[in-house]
Amino acid sequence: MKILVVDDFSTMRRIVKNLLRDLGFTNTQEADDGLTALPMLQNGDFDFLVTDWNMPGMTGLDLLKHVRADDKLKTLPVLMVTAEAKRDQIVAAAQAGVNGYVIKPFTAAVLKEKIDKIFERLEG
């Protein structure tokens, strides 16, 4: 399973990558915003996208919209890991087609639970 982790803060990318490694996902790559992430997704065979929302360049919500609008990428599962905690924002992310939503600060257990849930639903 190849995963792209998108966050503008390298520390958060590192934390997410570490947690993913603990969960057995070792094939991860990083991008620091939507603008760098989108071509990577289009040119690489990623199976899963974990993205922050608030980033310079292109935000995670816009990245999600681009992914859903792209024929090749539209079925890619997307987990949003973000500090954005307003109801309107979560509803907007859901409407844009997010598969899971984790708010920061989060625990390893929550991240695992959401990832498991996403793949359970995809397989089921």
Partner: protein
């Protein structure tokens, strides 16, 4: 900011105008047009003089405020606005360094701990074999050698892990330093806000004298437009606010109500 005291001229301005108005009425009733025009001119003079005074005070206060914001001259401990962003960049740098240092140390410690764990598991298997009297003499000699090695290895690893843990503790010193910097920037922002409020009040005084009214710049924005904009806002500091979910459980409840 003693020069910013407002309205000190206003009562006398009002009194002067009132007096002149009464005078004007008397002169009109007296029927002497020449004197009436004279009083009207006096009213204009008072208005102009007061207006110039107020604009002068406003200009001076604006100048002082900009000077203060730029250099931090009067801002007690806090330094200028131009340095505030540098200070906040320093906070980002410090927290980034501390986070990476902590993660480096934790990542270095993990394999040492794994080595201790797997060593103990391996020895336990051999030891249980020994207790069941299943070990051959040469295997027992091998076990004693391994136990000896394990003691040495565990001590060395534990010492390293202790040092790493105490370095992790030390890496949290950023909290004190960044906290101090943020407190200073917060103080600066508060003082700048106070200055701006004073300036707005002074400008209001000028508006009052001249009778200027301002259109509300937000008047054309309907509340719907504002609601429609879903943009990133960063962490919500006050989770008790309306429309803010209370942690991951709140997110999960909301999403499940949407059919997730």
């Amino acid at each position: 900011m003693s020069e910013l005291h407002l309205g000190s001229q206003s009562p006398s301005f009002q009194q002067e105008i009132k007096q002149l108005a009464e005078d004007l009425l008397q002169k009109i009733e007296g029927g002497d047009l020449g004197q009436v025009v004279g009083v009207v001119n006096s009213i204009n003079e008072v208005r102009d003089r007061t207006l110039y005074d107020e604009i002068g005070k406003l200009t001076r206060a604006l100048h002082e405020a900009i000077k203060g914001i730029a250099t931090g001259d009067e801002l007690s401990e806090a330094t200028g606005m131009c340095q505030a962003s540098d200070k906040l960049s320093y906070v980002i740098e410090m927290t980034d360094k501390a986070a990476n240092k902590t993660m480096d140390l934790a990542e270095d410690a993990m394999p040492l701990n794994s080595e201790n764990l797997s060593g103990a598991e391996e020895l336990q298997k051999q030891w249980q074999k020994f207790l069941r009297k299943e070990l051959k003499p040469e295997e027992f000699r091998d076990l004693t050698r391994k136990v000896d090695l394990y003691f040495t290895q565990t001590q060395a690893n534990s010492k390293k892990i202790s040092a790493q843990l105490s370095d992790i503790l030390m890496a949290q010193d950023f909290q004190d330093l960044t906290g101090q910097v943020i407190q200073r920037v917060t103080k600066l922002v508060t003082e700048v806000e106070e200055r701006l409020v004073d300036l707005v009040a002074m400008a209001g005084e000028v508006d009052r004298i001249t009778g200027i009214t301002h259109a509300d710049p937000h008047l054309n924005e309907t509340p719907q437009d504002v609601n429609k904009k879903i943009i990133a806002e960063g962490p919500q500091v006050d989770t008790s606010l309306d429309g803010v979910v209370g942690g991951q459980d709140g997110v999960d409840d909301l999403l499940s109500s949407l059919g997730f």
